[in-house]
Symmetry: D4
Subunit: 169 residues, 8 copies
């Protein structure tokens, strides 16, 4: 569990393999920053399908509110998780070598009627936004988190300079 909180885990960050971590780290970091309790697990759809099954079947009872799932290539993890639980699943398409993550994207995005996956942009920007989307969902029930999220967004806007620094090329 994240050291940022001592409360119950609300968000599960899962990924297909260790190699997804540099991408998915951005989701964990922004949840940390916003003080959202979360856990980080490797759950491989193909290599550990029973772990996926177990994770999905217990998600509601464990009190998970959002699952952020990252995967690359034939990225079955987010969609299979959405099949196993009604907890909202956010999918992060990890960039790949030959197809730049378009394979990951299509595998995550093109879900059939009945099993939505909230798909984010390809790569690290998508992972960060996955964390922010999770926070936005939790903020619906948590006024303090809502305030922190509003501040985070305002700070981002305030950080934008009026003109580019012309020496940064």
């Amino acid at each position: 569990m994240s050291k940022a909180t001592n409360t119950a885990v609300k968000v599960g960050i899962i990924m297909g393999s260790q190699s997804d971590w540099p991408t998915m780290k951005e989701a964990a970091d922004v949840l940390e920053e916003l003080g959202v309790a979360h856990e980080v697990k490797i759950v491989s759809a193909h290599r550990t399908p029973d772990r996926l099954w177990e994770y999905g079947k217990t998600a509601v009872d464990r009190g998970l509110q959002v699952i952020i799932a990252g995967a690359g290539g034939a990225a079955h993890l987010p969609g299979m998780m959405a099949s196993k639980t009604r907890v909202p699943v956010i999918g992060i398409p990890v960039q790949t070598r030959a197809l730049s993550g378009v394979d990951s994207l299509y595998s995550i995005l093109q879900m059939p009627r009945g099993f939505p996956v909230a798909t984010m942009a390809i790569g690290a920007a998508g992972a960060k936004n996955g964390g922010l989307m999770a926070a936005g969902i939790l903020a619906l029930q948590d006024a303090e988190l809502a305030a922190r999220l509003d501040k985070w967004r305002n700070d981002l806007s305030a950080s934008i300079a009026d003109e580019p620094d012309r020496d940064l090329i």
Copy 2:
């Protein structure tokens, strides 16, 4: 407002133009089926930008919990709405003529860090899943809706025949 409920509107379904309605209708229909109060509006990012601004700025105060935004081509509506409110925005890429909705998809999906849009599949399947994702988010705070959603999912699974009907070609 939807006639299905007499409670406050929780979900805003918005779209860029009348031509998006045949797609977006699936979102409205499944929310109706699940008894989720919603409204349906045309908000065009380019033709009615001030309407977009107003919708986004008042979303939190009006009590909206989820916004489902559908658009096609240079589909700016979902992303601009995500810029104006922290209410979770679900984006539906409407299929287009020349580029089959890949243009809509990239415009909705590839948001920069800070402003997530929960992107669904291209076209009507995506719109239906947008409605289900909205229901899943609301179900986190509404046990009765959660039960209805669980039943909806179970009914879907139970409806699948064991073998295809070989005469349906």
Copy 3:
């Protein structure tokens, strides 16, 4: 079970939904033509994940030698089946509306190390070839089937006219 044979089922043809049948029928037809015992089932990765689990876990014990799995969109069925059994899985990408089956293709093809899916061409040609590939695998242990397959291939070659019929436009 197919009426063509009274022997044990060797090939399982599975598909995600009824709508895949017009495509997958070509696999069944060519196996029928070659006298290969097979069954035809609907197994949906997302709507009936437990059926998928059961099918995969019992495949070896039931004596299945090849599984032909067709699916469209975020086509998780072939890859998840490959995760659950070492019986060779042949994947058929069903053509889709917005993305022409490229989504199905990438979801089936781009499997990670450890879980191969023998991917065929998009659509009906791929389904027919899936049946032929299954027959080719079984023919390694069945000289009579090998002879029938050789004849089938020779007949196909012999059927090619020397010149096109110029009136067929």
Copy 4:
């Protein structure tokens, strides 16, 4: 404002973030070279939407004749600016990591009827051409600039060697 001129700013170069500057610099440089008064600003569609609104609403009154807007990914800046002002908007799709700028391109190009964006090539060549297109538009009312632009074009043509230098590999 550019130091190249002491006259009123005619061209606004805007971009979504500092990271677009290495690309957009080519637009500024060629305007400098041609003696066209311009300003360079960061205006983020998502992070500073009110700045975008203000910029668009005041463009006519401030005497801007052309706006060159560069952005990457879900590049909403050029299109939203075109929605807010009738001043001609030139869009520059900035190259991106996963999708090479095809995402930027589609988001900028595929505008609905009513709100044209004059889209240039992806990346730095597009930015330079954006500057030249702006100069071409201004030259319609400025015979001296027209002469400078003609000379610039003639010099470019004259600089082309008859044969490649075979040692430059």
Copy 5:
């Protein structure tokens, strides 16, 4: 020349072949609507290259202010025209059969440094926007046209209903 005006032609609409007319008609129609004097010509880059040469070389002297050029496939007309004149060239990628106009788009868009083409969306929407972009450029020198264009834009915005007509499917 258009019957809408009795003043000098300001805009040349050119296209590679008769088959481009159903697309390019939208450019002519909106210029007609806005009272902008224009001409409509067939100029084929490959079949009538000398006509292209002549058109380009005389454009400035004939007083053309904008050229709108539509073409499909290996669409060389807009780019070659941009090479022959400094009059701003707007390019319209006509939709094609096999490649949906992506071939037209890349041929028009990806111009090298020195010769910008203001590329619009693929197909009829792009042609209409080409007419509007031309009007926007001319409006920089014509206050009455500017007023008509502002009204056209305001009327478009005002025409957008608040909700979709649910019976229009």
Copy 6:
């Protein structure tokens, strides 16, 4: 052999199957029009590989000067023919259902060093141009054919109207 000539066959038009004929007919028609002796054959790379072998090995001795080969999907015919003979091979990518002929194109175009295939546009326009390219190659040794080809090109240019017929929509 074509009835248009009584001289030796100079051009071989080959295709993978009867279904390619509606496309490849354009090559035959333009050769007929230009009076170039040709033959039309079905040669399937996969179904009649020995026929391909024989055709390639005898091409030089039979006096063939150009081979026009059309195929769709995994279109191996043009490239394999180029491997078997030094007679110039022109490849025609036939449009396909799922991938619009991009599969045919890549299979024909992306030949390794040593075995060029002169690839034409996807579909019927490419087939016609294949015939014209063959005529252009033969015209290098045949002044009368060169004159006929020059006339054909001039007639095409002369047929282009000055303005589109506005009633042809």
Copy 7:
């Protein structure tokens, strides 16, 4: 022949050129690991077509059970081999420079009815999976190999950590 076994060669690994070896090595390595007798050859469809013919025609008699064929670009080797023998052919699309292996993929995958190629993922992961698919096919007749393959799969699953190592970025 592989030094790993002293039994008859069951699997032929072939590739179009030396440059495919870094990719195809993964197929050889995993067969080595699983104790499957195999050979490794260069067979170029275009440069050594007669070698391809000979290899295909003798495959059954030589006792080959599976052929794994890797190629890049206009990758004709797997499909032509499938045309020459009924021994199951597994195709490996080698990644290419300009088109990232999508050219290889389409050339291998899109086979016409009659000649299936069991296509694997683009690049090295596909080559490894090609070896595993070959092993899975052979395991249908070899209980000891089946046990080794089951163990290999179980070991892979068991190697997956519960959480990512957060220091591996």
Copy 8:
């Protein structure tokens, strides 16, 4: 003119800019190797259109038999040259940064009926094959060149090792 020969120039190698030379060098080198007289020129469609015009109009009279034209991006050079002369034009799509040469490819390949361009693979392999295709065309009238080309092809085939060198990774 190439120093390799003292005979009349038969092949013109032209390219849009110096930056195309590293690609186009392969065409020059293989012509050198085969003893084919050629010249190498920069002819830019956009920057030196009059040079293009002149080159095309004099090609027949100068005795050119083949023109090899390389270009990148909106690669108009090959197609415009094909419009100006009936001398066969071979097009080489130069690889580009953002779109990997797919832009070059479509601009060169998708020519309308009447003006064929013999398109080669993207990049350096295509340039080499352009040289070989030119040699193959010239060999139709030159038995000695035909013999040299046959030898070149045989040498290539003979150079292919039987097995890959396993140490070359």
